[in-house]
Symmetry: C2
Subunit: 490 residues, 2 copies
């Protein structure tokens, strides 16, 4: 007797699935009326639900009621048009539809044989996307290329995977020239580099990989120049270290600055250093010809990554990574137990993506790319990027017209870094009053010694009216703050 | 003018979302009529679709038509009742509903503030699940525990994360006692262990972490005994190595054998070795009191992991991991850039799960657990496990009644390892004829020198009738094969 698995059969699923689709549609229609950042305090949820799982099944109605009662009050609404924090995370209806399909098929595509469609669509979608941003042919899989793309879960994993591939490659290379050196000897001398503006995940990749990782000082535009890298390399070689990996950033997290690939790439190539490019946020913009120049120099790189799940309307997770030589990845990771082998794997025609990533299992994520690319078309996606960039410049102009404020970094894409002219304390107080008011949501960053507010264009549905509202609100809070400060000083 | 983003508004999403729900329901209703393993050859998909993404948007109808035309012919149907390969991957309607909701909310829960509900529901769900399998209290978060659980993407990541935490802990400990040793010195002496039957991801974790990893020989039941571990530890200590991590397996991938925790745990504790338990597949069974004894000894472990996304009806990805001391993880990984800080984080009340895992971003995956646990109830889940175990014994009995065959390892849960008495070539030929016929799908393993067929109970909808069919089919193919062989020998 199996009462429960039967209690939701396909008939019931049809009914409940449609109710859930309506719930999501309602959610999006009413999203601008929900408070963007929740009021709850840490620990709010535990008292609202039982201590342990129920013994007997409960109904879908009861669960859905609890979503509104327990979950929604604690949600930070990333897709609210009043959300300007972090960077965007993508959301679109075609991607949601594809994810329903992916969940239904529910295959695990760790090898070609485990679901050929899952692997093959991914390879072709990464080629489509590579062509959309005009990546050099070497990065594409094509029919018989040495390169190719893969979907990683996040840019952090892309950085880690490429750092590990570079580590293995370097160790083997050094050992072949110096057979007396042990792996541990070499590991202790390896050193990787990234901008002092790079994402914390780069430092973390070094930590995980057990290698030194050093910051390269960025210039006054928060950009790493070739001269800065050269200087550090020179010092480190002199000290007996082995430079092996440089992670360039296009679109840094604090202020969306761009490292100078055209200066850095030739240095890395000459010095036999793996150059990885992390364009997690900015990469999506390269589908527009007017922004593609920011990627110039990618031809010098060994690997490149950006996150369609940030700004290209493909829901999380979908981090696109390409390498010029796929054998660099598979050499670093390949382990082949019999239960994962299949008769086609040595044919040279198939890709077993488990050798390209940290986890073994993988969902059918390329369906999201396929649905989004087809149902928006390249032109639709370009319009979307352009709209966000236009809105960030609109906000930038509002800031520039107010003499109390300053812009802290060049506005290139959808991020505006700004602050009140004055102390860090003043700006911390401003940010606090903004987030306490709960009408919009922002996060800060440090640019050198300065505490700076980040205004990121995030939502798919954000329009000029929301930008105007946000600025009026910020401006009013600043006025209040400055008044209160004047009063205090009197 | 933005024609495309508008072309799928919420009204259209309601319509298409419901069509997609129906498509999935139809898929499940007809799944037993689809061929479980596809006929396609490597490279089949590329010629079926354009070389590059379309410039103009296409319609949902066209995309959905292509799903049937291009995708489905290349899908290995993991949820077909004729799929007996690998281990199960979970699929249930409550989990699918929760995933629609998770996609709709679309929050990224890397910190408490990034979406408090996402973090807090996860902590509580891991407590629920921990109680369901009667984990020692130390592993639960409770209101003020030092331990707690987290959802990882896969068991591979759980093994890697715990190995890295153990590595950092050991390095710090050794350095505090021997300040003259460098990190590189210590790294070169570290050694981790796992059964010779352990999953390949354990070896990979060692590779990634840059530490030695050694196999402990399993006994004739494919089980690691305390004596075997002791012997290797003794040798390695004598050679000046530093043992720091042992990964015990409950339910090995080849044959679902169980390492002897009650012997191994005390050794690890005494020798100051981090014991991690990988119960990826078997863990779900521990919700049944009659299987819980297999987990005895978990009280000696530092960390424990299993995959509800395998056998507990929670769709991929959902790998549940617990640690006794969460500070062991956060000490190993914590990096705190300003853009990820928030005012509550030092309160001691909140969990920032980004410090517990490799990626930064994370989806709202605990919704799946919540929906499944509530809509099945513990009893429903127990019945589900019991049904699978019953079916595996049914298959085992069919094999035992046929004198041509042998059972190769004890059948404890849902996996039967069997083979024709005879050569490996014979069994390879049998497997080939089974998979070539495309009526059912199996994968093999090696047990010592033997090539063995694995028959895993996988599908949510598999019943006795499918087991009987599978056995008749295998038996018939064996007869044909043996006849052909006899003929050849005459």
């Amino acid at each position: 007797m199996l009462p429960t698995p039967v209690s939701m059969d396909t008939t019931e699923f049809r009914k409940r699935g449609k109710e859930m689709v309506d719930y999501i549609a309602d959610y999006f229609e009413q999203l601008d009326k929900r408070q963007v950042y929740p009021d709850v305090e840490p620990g709010y949820l535990r008292p609202l639900i039982p201590d342990s799982a129920p013994q007997e099944p409960e109904s879908f109605e009861d669960v859905l009621k609890d979503v509104e009662r327990i979950i929604m009050p604690g949600v930070t609404h990333w897709h609210s048009p009043y959300f300007f924090a972090y960077f965007p995370t993508a959301s679109s209806f075609p991607a949601l539809l594809a994810d329903i399909l992916s969940g239904g098929i529910g295959c695990i595509g760790f090898s070609w044989a485990a679901s050929p469609a899952c692997t093959e669509l991914e390879t072709v979608m990464l080629d489509w996307l590579g062509k959309m941003i005009n990546l050099p042919e070497e990065f594409l899989a094509g029919k018989d290329g040495e390169g190719g793309g893969v979907i990683q879960g996040s840019a952090s994993e892309a950085t880690l995977v490429t750092l590990l591939a570079a580590r293995t490659k370097t160790i083997r290379c050094v050992q072949s020239e110096n057979p007396e050196l042990t792996e541990a000897d070499i590991m202790s001398k390896l050193v990787a580099y990234a901008s002092d503006q790079a994402h914390s995940s780069v430092e973390r990749a070094g930590l995980i990989g057990g290698v030194k990782i050093k910051n390269i000082p960025s210039d006054d535009k928060f950009t790493v120049r070739g001269s800065a890298l050269k200087k550090v390399l020179h010092e480190d070689r002199a000290a007996g270290l082995i430079p092996f990996f440089f992670c360039a950033t296009l679109g840094t997290t604090p202020c969306c600055s761009f490292d100078r690939l055209l200066e850095l790439g030739p240095i890395c190539n000459k010095e036999n250093i793996w150059m990885h490019i992390d364009a997690a946020y900015a990469g999506s913009a390269f589908i527009c010809p007017e922004f593609r120049h920011l990627l110039n120099g990618v031809e010098f790189a060994d690997s490149f990554n950006f996150n369609p799940h940030k700004w290209l309307l493909v829901n999380f997770d979908c981090s696109a990574m390409w390498v010029k030589k796929r054998s660099d990845l598979t050499n670093a990771f390949k382990l082949d137990p019999l239960y994962l082998q299949h008769c086609h794997q040595e044919s040279g025609l198939v890709t077993d993506y488990r050798h390209w990533q940290i986890p073994l299992g993988r969902r059918f994520r390329s369906l999201k790319m396929w649905f989004v690319f087809r149902m928006y078309g390249v032109k639709g996606l370009q319009e979307y990027i352009r709209k966000h960039v236009k809105l960030s410049h609109e906000f930038e102009n509002l800031v520039l017209q107010d003499k109390r404020f300053e812009i802290c970094a060049e506005v290139t894409l959808g991020l505006v870094c700004f602050r009140l002219k004055g102390s860090n304390e003043l700006n911390e107080a401003l940010l606090k009053s903004i987030n306490d008011a709960r009408k919009i949501h922002l996060v800060p960053c440090h640019l050198r010694e300065k505490f700076v507010l980040r205004f990121a264009i995030c939502s798919r549905t954000v329009e000029s009216v929301h930008i105007q509202f946000a600025w009026k609100h910020i401006s009013k809070l600043a006025t209040d703050l400055l008044k209160a400060q004047d009063k205090q000083q009197q």
